[in-house]
């Protein structure tokens, strides 16, 4: 952002005070409202699109392929494209790693749902396209000074896309231990199965709330630390002046790894980067524990609503 020194200083002062005031008037544990839609790409197994009011947008497509088993870690491939930045920039591949690892670690049923037979598995290709609000202001392919950290937004998108992913129904024998057999599928799209089964009956849902909780894709939350205050889902201005960034994962009712410190300031100026206190980390985890369940519930509502574009106001 092209804020002047005094503007940044004003922002820092107001965020570091005892009763912090965020520039957009949000509470410190309040996320930005998103507009989301799912299943709009006809050629992919699952897709989602999330837009923020500042104009940034993330589009995610999930495709599947039948592969012969090698290692479980190979079953998910994630590709991240940000505006038209070079894809070998360090921070882009770092974000890819964080997202991919969080998926691999917390995948539902330890990949049981991708298992077709004893030999064959589904492999998922997750393609992420992130369009930032400031892509026009950029001059070169390596200029990253206007980029906000998109991890949290992308993970919401992946959550929605995975929840809307449908995989073809296997009709051949699932046990091919003795006789090798190529898997065959039902070619009717209406008989496909959801990767993350949705509870159609409310009663079932009420009966086993724990099992329903156990299968959700992971979410990532980005926190910005300013002195003793923590802010969830920081806007680009807040990211720029924060002492330190923190990414915390959440899955199925629990805080999970990655829990890492982040450099939120892509522009490279380090005058505001100071580090955080140990207590901040604990507070951050508590904040996520309080907020995350609401977020995932909100995202589930979007999945239930289906194709309709839903505007989620700042309900979190």
């Amino acid at each position: 952002m092209s804020f002047s020194v005094s503007e940044k200083d004003y922002l820092y002062q107001s965020l570091s005070s005892k009763t912090p005031i965020r520039p957009d008037g949000r509470k410190s544990h309040q996320l930005r409202g998103i507009e989301a839609s799912i299943n709009f790409l006809p050629n992919s197994n699952g897709s989602s699109r999330i837009r923020l009011s500042d104009g940034s947008e993330v589009i995610i497509s999930i495709k599947s392929k039948v592969v012969k088993m090698s290692t479980l870690a190979d079953l998910i491939e994630l590709d991240l494209t940000i505006d038209n930045l070079r894809d070998d920039l360090t921070f882009i591949s770092d974000w890819t790693n964080i997202l991919r690892n969080s998926l691999l670690r917390n995948f539902a049923d330890k990949f049981e749902c991708l298992k077709l037979t004893t030999r064959y598995y589904f492999k998922l290709y997750v393609d992420v396209l992130f369009l930032s609000s400031s892509s026009n202001a950029r001059t070169t392919k390596t200029d990253t000074s206007f980029l906000q950290n998109p991890l949290s937004m992308i993970s919401f998108g992946i959550y929605l896309a995975l929840k809307s992913t449908r995989l073809p129904l296997l009709i051949s024998n699932s046990n091919d231990k003795d006789i090798e057999e190529l898997p065959t599928f039902n070619d009717d799209w209406s008989s496909t199965v959801l990767l993350y089964p949705q509870d159609e009956d409310e009663e079932i849902k009420e009966n086993n709330t724990t099992s329903q909780n156990s299968s959700s894709p992971p979410l990532l939350f980005v926190l910005s630390v300013v002195k003793n205050n923590l802010f969830i889902d920081p806007s680009i201005e807040e990211q720029e002046i924060s002492d330190c960034g923190l990414v915390i994962g959440w899955c199925s009712g629990k805080v999970v790894s990655p829990i890492e410190s982040l450099n939120l300031n892509q522009s490279g100026s380090s005058e505001y980067i100071k580090g955080m206190h140990g207590q901040n980390i604990i507070e951050g985890i508590k904040m996520i524990e309080n907020v995350a369940a609401t977020v995932s519930k909100g995202l589930d509502e979007i999945v239930k609503d289906g194709n309709n574009s839903v505007f989620m106001d700042s309900i979190f």
Partner: protein, 294 residues
């Protein structure tokens, strides 16, 4: 009464002490005594690379690391008010298996594995030939962590229009024993800290890094070594953490926590305390080393 055949001094005599002979070995610190807190002995030596501004060599068990710091060097045609700081990591031997997701191998023979490995190497070579500076996953993670952790400590605004580059070279590492990425990060960070001091670049404070793990029975193990780290037991609740500290401001500048299961605030608090203990121990060791080399 007394023994007259021997020339003995008076009872209060002190043994004769010679001044230490100055030689090149004086910069070398002998492996330190194992401390009670259970940090492994490590060997450090600074200033061993002659064509850079600062360097440090660190050895712990079978891991050897060289960090060299270049800078602050002027960059052409740029008028930025503070220096740019970049970190590059190179792992000399193949550490691909170190990727922090440990997958259980499902039914495939050794030959298949080797084939895959070969294919992977081929891939690596081809990407290199194109001229891309493609770092492996491990190298990537290491670089980012070190960069994030050291950004707050360097007074970059003192060096306008210049760049500071850190090259981390991991010469050897126990790839057989599945040493974790986290322990590698810890020692690389500590080595980088000393290399930066050696380079004379102005710092706010030295960064010291500690590693700890919280086991099933809620005990904190500081600096878990390869032997007791090993492969994680399936279903075992284990939290591993690396944290970097600047002790002047008492702040955490780098943090990475890994666990297979969910965690809560209490567990994190315990494991971070462990990291802090180790970081302080490391810091006092480094201080001692720096004083002895003055």
């Amino acid at each position: 009464m007394s023994d007259r055949r021997r020339i003995t001094g008076p009872e209060s005599a002190l043994p004769l002490v010679f001044a230490p002979t100055p030689n090149n070995q004086s910069t070398t610190k002998s492996p330190q005594e194992k401390t009670n807190s259970g940090i492994r002995n490590f060997f450090i030596k600074t200033g061993i690379v002659s064509n850079c501004n600062g360097s440090c060599f660190l050895e712990v068990d079978n891991t050897t690391i060289i960090v060299s710091v270049y800078g602050a060097k002027p960059i052409r045609g740029s008028s930025v008010t503070s220096a740019s700081f970049s970190v590059m990591t190179k792992v000399s031997n193949n550490l691909e298996e170190l990727s922090n997701f440990t997958s259980s191998d499902l039914s495939h023979s050794k030959e298949e594995k080797e084939e895959q490995k070969l294919a992977k190497e081929d891939e690596y070579v081809t990407t290199n030939q194109i001229g891309k500076t493609q770092l492996s996953l491990v190298e990537q993670k290491l670089s980012t962590y070190i960069q994030t952790a050291f950004l707050p400590s360097i007074l970059l605004e003192k060096y306008p229009k210049s760049s500071i580059e850190v090259f981390i070279n991991i010469l050897t590492n126990d790839s057989h024993t599945n040493s974790s990425l986290l322990s590698l990060i810890t020692w690389c960070a500590n080595c980088t800290s000393l290399a930066l001091v050696d380079s004379g670049i102005e710092l706010k404070d030295m960064v010291s890094t500690g590693i700890a793990k919280l086991t099933d029975d809620q005990t904190v193990v500081i600096d878990p070594s390869y032997s007791n780290e090993g492969r994680k037991t399936v279903g075992g609740q284990e939290v591993r953490a690396v944290a970097s500290y600047m002790s002047v401001t008492d702040t955490v500048v780098g943090l990475m926590i890994e666990s297979e299961e969910g965690v809560n605030g209490e567990m994190i608090e315990k494991v971070i305390d462990g990291c802090n203990t180790m970081a302080r121990e490391i810091r006092s060791n480094m201080n001692g080393f720096l004083v002895s080399t003055m």
